[in-house]
Assembly symmetry: C2
Amino acid sequence: MAKIALLGHGVVGTGVVNILSSKAEQLEKLAGEKLELKYVLVRHDYDVDYKEKFVMDFATIENDEEVDVVVEAIGGTNPAYNYVKAALEKGKHVVTSNKELVAKHGFELMNIAKEKNVNLMFEGAVGGAIPVIHGVRNCLEANTVNSVAGILNGTTNYILTKMIEEKQSFDIALKRAQELGYAEADPSADVDGIDTCRKICILADIIYGNHIMPENVHTEGIRNVRIEDVDTLKTIGGCIKLLGVAKRTEDKKMYIVTAPHAVFNNGILFAANDVFNAAQLETDNAGTMAFYGRGAGSLPTGSAVVNDIVECVKSTGTVYPVWGAEKPEMVADYKKFAQQFYVSTNDTAEKVAAAFGEVQLVAVGEETAFITEKMTQEQLEEKLAGFNVKSVLRVL
Amino acid sequence: MAKIALLGHGVVGTGVVNILSSKAEQLEKLAGEKLELKYVLVRHDYDVDYKEKFVMDFATIENDEEVDVVVEAIGGTNPAYNYVKAALEKGKHVVTSNKELVAKHGFELMNIAKEKNVNLMFEGAVGGAIPVIHGVRNCLEANTVNSVAGILNGTTNYILTKMIEEKQSFDIALKRAQELGYAEADPSADVDGIDTCRKICILADIIYGNHIMPENVHTEGIRNVRIEDVDTLKTIGGCIKLLGVAKRTEDKKMYIVTAPHAVFNNGILFAANDVFNAAQLETDNAGTMAFYGRGAGSLPTGSAVVNDIVECVKSTGTVYPVWGAEKPEMVADYKKFAQQFYVSTNDTAEKVAAAFGEVQLVAVGEETAFITEKMTQEQLEEKLAGFNVKSVLRVL
């Protein structure tokens, strides 16, 4: 029998409790032993039919040698960081869906896990139910992953989908997302790209093998996405998606950004709408590969967490290698990475042609919108000096 | 050091040789030991720079106790079945991408593997590079999979994409696919749905836990897909895809078919074009989930095969449970499964309304095309008696 302690009893925590109960028999079969929820760490008591498991003091869990797996579902880093560290140091497996914690402290915590021969697992931290972390770790052993691009935040994808499909402005779409409970009262972690940034960092950590701190990643949110650009891109089969992107560069660094991108109708990222998430990988042998599914929610994230619990219980020690320490010099200057851009200006097509040569004109009217050839952002900015620029988007 | 014997040196076999060589260092690290290709079973000698590994007699491989993993890349069941069986009986792991073999003999062969405490792995048999088998086996432990629908054959998806995007007829698109090497001179295994049927059977075997023989699965190919219906569906944002579909029914049976379906613009199956494959799962806790990637080709399928080799080498015995024996009574009568249909007839909209009541009319002209309410195929056929039916498609 494996004993589990759950820290936090919010959206993810209740999903975990539900699944451990509803799938008890199946999980016992797959894990090779019964999974018993022994504790739920809460801040105050209230009435649920398993309230006898409630504890209010983490020390009870930390000091109970029977506890094999600690599930951290509190979120944030305080007190989650201290609790996770303490649990690992006591030789307990930890499963978390906390992207902030893993993005900031993953390297340190995985090292502790390895020292203690246990696991720190975090499938639910990126892409909710989608097994993208498992896929990258277990299913691409014959490959080098050259790039990953992902829609990793359901809230912003919902807002952008409403802007695209229902021509709502950002403000109105955000308000609707808040009413539906998809967005927080303070939506900045989502709409400013902070959450996506943490998630692309975690994927990049695994793929590239060194820890990348979110603060070293250029991050733009979606507050400035204009309905005009949504409409213009639609005329050429495009849309706008908030992506986390990480690519190997020719000089063996990593280009990594979080930003709204123009995405065209030729793959999975274009098709991932509403609260769905998707991650697309470019690999040398397997080619293009993508994973798609629910990026958040009580049962979807709970599903990923419970899967990790089973993997911990089945393991005989640390399963995955620890990625390397941070090397800030590995992160390329994002302004020096060549790619295509979508630009809309209040200038004439003639002026655009004079500065950019032959470009793909997307709209000519009140604004001139066009897609550039591949160039760096530095080069773009130089060319755009003297233009009345309304918007610039990277093209995936 | 793990010693590998490769049977067959065609498209998949050469991909495996390439990857074992180009990724030798990475694979050694991930597998925990060096992977050495010891033999390649060929039918006749020719010049490659590793021709010293060529053998022409399977007995050499079978009787070499040093061989840990046999990779079957011959295709078909004769002699593949005998070779795989013999290798397993000698206590060697077997990796194969042979869908016919697994769909027909998987139950028997997995039982032998289990008896000998080795593995029969076959990720490459379904969806090429896409880790859909791994995903279903390892990433959904907290779920019941209620249905799976997949574009599992790249050749037919290429043909349908050309029909949709370039308005080519089936015959012209097939010819183009043959010129490009995507379709065989005798294309029947692909275009008649036989290949897709084998693959949906394998997925269903894993998901539902009992072996399903392909001959018990209603199978339609794409020879009769009409460009007229492709065009009509396009007007309402739909397209036609050849799908393998398996769903749990209310009476705990399985509805399983291979057939062209009308698919609408709200997910991954619609977006999977050209030679790409995709599989979409409906689960109770994780919700909708999809996997997408290259369904065939030397390196993509080789990638899946090599991944399986690594999993075999890392394993300490049989990893996955054997599914149960065949229970033909588990397969539901496909004519009794309720779903929506797309129908095109040479009759009037009034006649359609008289028989079907209010329906979604898609086209009124030379032909009347419409989408029915949910009904069984039996009910549909009854209502369509006396109609001059041009085509019927299931709606996903």
